[in-house]
Amino acid sequence: MPTIRIPSPMQYYTEKQAEFKVPGKTVLDAVRSAAEKFPALKFHLFDGNDKLRRHINLFLNDVNVRDLGGPDVPVTDGDVVRILPSITGG
């Protein structure tokens, strides 16, 4: 199973877990699995049409999935899926 890494602004919704393993054949599957495991995450990751929110980037290891063809890129054991939202504090 891949590991999903949660940014600290969202760890409030994952019982403070920064990373955990989730089932999923693709990056998007893995993110949906995380939202199923922690339902409070869903609002922050997906919009009302169940699409990934546009300010969220997903990385497979250290590469943006946009550069790999999109969030349906396959994942394997050992891969890390990173959720990266925009933040704006200054």
Binding site: D67, T88, G90
Partner: protein, 383 residues
């Protein structure tokens, strides 16, 4: 022709001159260079201090705020003696004392589409030390249009991000974040909090990148994003590439002029007061106090649960803003309801959400529970 250094400057910068990668030539480059620091708060403090110390010839400071006591937990360029003073003036005093040889320009005005190009064109490099999405997108677009590097930094609670967005050589900010989040979804430091030391770390990293760019040394973070977490002291890097569909720096860019960034980010216009939901939707703390006595409206607190330990109103239902959309079924649209948060910003967003869902008997507590603490119940702290 680079400016020479006098004997005093040679002494002041001797520790730079001793580094082969800087040397006399590098220090003269710094003296000839200029940087615009947009924001003189948490990030702007270490950025401007270290650039001044390094001998950047000209530093511009943009901010239209005044120093507030709550700033001093992290905005180390200011002090108790400058509370109430314009931030740019407070910062200029400190920088001029640190290094009287540099030129410090101050811009006590909102940084907007009306003035951004005029201000920015004077400087070699822009440093994004802002605290809001509209200004970040504005800063990015200005840098793309003027062909200047944008040294990006942002923070939240324990996390920080740093990169160099330089469209001539790599991605811009919009390549990574084509769109902002919906208003209210990503809190500011005022709403979500921030570890005070965090902007010190991130701002110093931004200053480092600025110096590397101006000196032409090292490997700047072009095409890379540094992700820092203070709790586990991790420094992770992810790769960034130009987005071929970028609307500002891409080959088919359709944004060629500055836009209305507040409209783009969905935030209220500047003529709408902070902490207000707009005419007809607000109640003041005094008005709410009367209504509580008279007809007991439902109170909805949209703050995070840990904030209730600081101050709370009795009998208020707590549904954090981030959960509200998924918990509308817990609310009765037939009931009169007053929504509040710390200062009125999140509750204004909550009100918009509820009105959009068909709720009509809703009001926003203008100024939030802080206004209640100031005007009604002084036993509660303002935070």
């Amino acid at each position: 022709m680079l400016p020479n250094l006098n004997h005093e400057e040679i002494l002041r910068y001797s520790r730079h001159l001793l580094i082969p990668e800087v040397g006399l030539e590098g220090q003269r480059k710094l003296k000839a260079s200029s940087a615009l620091v947009i924001g003189t708060g948490g990030l702007g403090s270490p950025v401007s201090l270290y650039l001044a110390a390094a001998g950047i010839g000209r530093v511009g400071l943009v901010d239209h705020d005044v120093v507030d006591q709550s700033n001093l937990q992290r905005q180390v360029i200011h002090g108790t003696s400058t509370i109430g003073k314009l931030k740019v003036e407070s910062a200029r005093e400190k920088l001029s004392d640190l290094n009287p040889d540099i030129q410090v320009d101050v811009y006590n005005e909102p940084y907007t589409s009306a003035n951004a190009m005029r201000i920015a064109q004077e400087y070699d490099i822009l440093i994004d030390c802002t605290d809001n999405f509209p200004t970040r997108y504005l800063t990015n677009d200005v840098c793309v249009f003027l062909g200047k590097p944008n040294i990006y930094g942002s923070i939240f609670r324990f996390d920080g991000q740093v990169s160099v967005f330089y469209a001539k050589e790599g991605p811009c900010y919009r390549c990574l974040f084509p769109e902002p989040p919906p208003p209210g979804l990503v809190p500011s430091c005022a709403e979500g909090g921030v570890l005070g030391i965090l902007p010190g770390t991130i701002g110093t990293l931004q200053a480092t990148e600025a110096l590397k760019m101006l000196l032409g040394i090292g490997e700047p973070l072009i095409g890379k994003l540094l992700l820092y977490n203070a709790l586990d002291m991790s420094f992770d890097f992810v790769k960034l590439k130009k987005n071929p569909n970028c609307r500002v720096c891409g080959p088919n860019a359709d944004i060629r002029d500055l836009i209305d960034y507040e409209e783009f980010c969905g935030v209220p216009g500047r003529d709408q007061e902070e902490g207000s939901a707009g005419a007809g939707w607000d109640v003041t703390a005094a008005e709410l106090a009367e209504r509580v006595q008279r007809d007991h409206p439902k109170l909805l607190d949209v703050r995070e649960p840990h904030e209730l330990e600081i101050s709370a109103l009795p009998n208020a239902l707590n549904i954090p803003l981030g959960q509200l959309a998924g918990r509308l079924s817990e609310l009765d649209s037939a009931e009169e309801m007053v929504i509040f948060c710390k200062a009125g910003t999140r509750s204004a967003r909550a009100l918009e959400l509820l009105v959009g869902a068909g709720f009509r008997k809703v009001k926003n507590l203008k100024g939030g529970i802080n206004a209640w603490a100031r005007d009604v119940d002084g036993s509660l702290p303002v935070y």
